[in-house]
Amino acid sequence: MSAPLAAPAAGPAAGKPLRDGLCTVGLLLAGSFLLRWASGSLNGYQIQLLNLIAINAILALSLNFIYGFSGMFSLGHAGFMAVGAYVSALCILTPAQKATIWFLEPIVAPLATLQTSFFASVMLGGLVAALFSLLIAAPVLRLGGDYLGIATLGFAEIIRVLLTNLVPVTNGAIGLRGIPSHANLFWNYAWLVITLYVILSILKSNFGNVLKSIRDDDIAAKTMGINTTSYRTMAFCVGGFFAGVGGALMGSLITTIEPKMFNFQLTFNILLIVVAGGLGSVTGSVVGSAVITLLLEGLRIVEYPFNIDLDLGLFRVGPVHVPGVPGMRMVIFALVLMFIIIFRRQGLIGTRELSWRALFALPSKIRGLVGRKDPGAGAGG
C-alpha cells in the first residue's frame, strides 16, 4: 500500500474523531484562503478552470455514488444535469430577461415571475432532478447491468426531446442565454464541500456498507434483510440530486444552455472522470476531475496550429508548423479512456481513499521503508 492512500478503513471511523475533525476544519480554512487568493490573483481563464474542476468533481461524485459505490450503471446523467440547469435558470433569470428570451412563444405564466436566490435555485434544481430520478427509478432499477445503462440513456434522451419541444417552458431548441452568472469560486466550492460532506457521511456509515453489499451481491443482501430496491432508489435519487446541482452550477457558469449540449458526450465525460479517478473512490473522483479537466483543456492546443522549434543542443527539432486539427482533442480523449480501461482499469486511485489517519501514518511508513533493510518488517499497517 502506498501512503498517503490506504485501504478503506473497516466500517465507521475507528480512529481519532477529534483529531480528524480539527484537521478537516483546518483544511477548509486553508482552502478558503487559497480560493480568496486565487480569485484575486489568477486570470479569468485559470479561474474558469478552477470552477470547472469543482463542478466536474460534484458531477463525478454523484455518478460515482450511483455506479462505483452502488453498482448501478446509469448513463442518464446528462438528463439530470439538464433538469437541474433548466430549473435553476428559470429561477434566476429576471422577468425582463424572460420576456425577451421567450420570443417564439411566451413563457408559461407562473414561471414568468419566478425569482429566487441563487442558493435556492441550485437547491431546487437538485430537488427536481431527484424527483425525476425517483420517477425513472421505479421502472428501471430492477433491470441489471447493461439494460439499466440503456434504459437510463433512453430516459436522458426523452428528457432532451421534452426540453426541445416544450417551448413555453424551456424555450425549445434555442435555449437560454444570459443566465446570471452567480457560479463563482465560492459557490462552486461551497457546493463541492456540501456534496463531499453528504456523500462521505453516508458512505462512511453502515449505509455505505449496505450500498456496497448491494453492489457486490444483490441476492445475498436481500437475504440479509436489506430492501435492495429501496436502497438503490435512494442512491439513485441522491446521485440525481447532486447531478442536478452540478447542472445548475454549470448553467450559471457558462450562462448559456440548450438541450443539444446535454447529450451523451457530456455523460461520457463524467464517466471518464469517474473511471479515470477510480470507480468506488471519493478521492479518485476529485482527483480525476482535476486531472481530466486540465487534460481536456490542455488538449485544446492540438486543435490550433502551433510551431515546434526546439534546440536540444545535440540536435534541433523543427522548425515545424503543426496545423491545428479540429476534433483531434476528442480522438485523444477517447484513446485515453480506452487506454485506461484496458491497461489500468482501477484508474488513478483504485478504491483507496485519502484519510487523515493514513496521512499521519505517512512519516512512520517512510521511516519504515527507508530505515529497515529487510522487506517484511516495515510492511503492513
Binding site: 433491470l143 440503456i150 433512453g154 426523452i158 476534433g327 476528442m330 479512456l337 482499469r345
Partner: protein, 295 residues
Amino acid sequence: MSFELFVQNVFNSMTVGSLYALIAIGYTMVYGILRFINFAHGDVFMVGAYLIFFAEMLVPWPVAALIAIAGASLLGILVDQTAYRPLREAPRISALISAIGVSFLLENLAVVVFTGLPRPAVQPAWMVRPIAVGGLRVLPLTFLVPLVTAALVMGLLYVVYRTRPGLAMRAISRDIETTRMMGVSINRIIALTFGLGSALAAAAGIMWAMRYPQIHPYMGVFPGFKAFIAAVVGGIGSIRGAVLGGLLLGTVEVMAIAFNPTLSGYRDAFAFVLLIVILIFMPTGLLGEKNKDKI
C-alpha cells in the same frame, strides 16, 4: 389520409424498418455470444456509408459496394481484436466503456479525416428514377431496400443454422466455456460474428446513403441507438427478433408521424419510449428467452 399516401408510408416503414433491422442484427449477434453491447456498431454503419461515398467515385457502383462492405467488415473485426479482446476476462462494464470509447474514437476520427461537412453520396440514376406503379410514383430504391435486406437476412440465417461456423456461434451463445472445451477456436468465431454483423451494418449504411444522401460523422448515432432498441424489443440474442424489432420500430416511427404530423418533433423519442415500455413489461423482448439466476 389518402390511400396513396398510406401506401407511401407503408413503403417508407418497410425501408426504414429494414435498415434498422440490418443494423440490429449486428448488435444482437454480438450480445448473443458475448453478452456485451457493442456501442461502436452504429459507427461501423457510418464508416460503411463513407466508404461507398469514396469508392463509388473510383470504381463502378457494384464494386464500390463490395469494397465498402469488406472494409467495414474488417473494421469490425479490428475493433474487436484491439479494443474488446483484451477485456474478455474483465468485468463486463470495462468492455462496455471500451466500446463507448471506440465509438467516440471513430466518430471523432471521421471528423478529423473527413471534416464534419455532410457529404452528398452519389445515387446511381437507375435507383432514383421513379417508376409508375398503379397510380403511384415510386423510387426503385424503395423496393430494393426490403428485398436486399430479406436476401441478406436469408443468407445470414443460412450461415447461422446450416453451417459449422454458424453452429459454433449458436453453441457459444449457449455456453461459452463448454464450447471452448470442445476445441472450438472461440476467437475466430467471435471475429466471424463481428465480421458478419459489420458487413450487414455496412450494407445498411450503403442503402441509407442512397436513400438519405447526406453523410456525416455522427450519422450512425441515432440509427445505432434505435437499432439497438429494436434488437432489445425483438429479444436480444435472437436474429429473428432483431428483424422483427427493426420492422416494428420503423413502422411505429413512420406511421405515428404520418397519422399525427404534430408529433414529428418527438420522432426520436418513440424509440426510447418503446424501449422503456418493453423493458418494463417484457424485458426479454418479444422473441427472447428468459434467463434465470442460479443460487
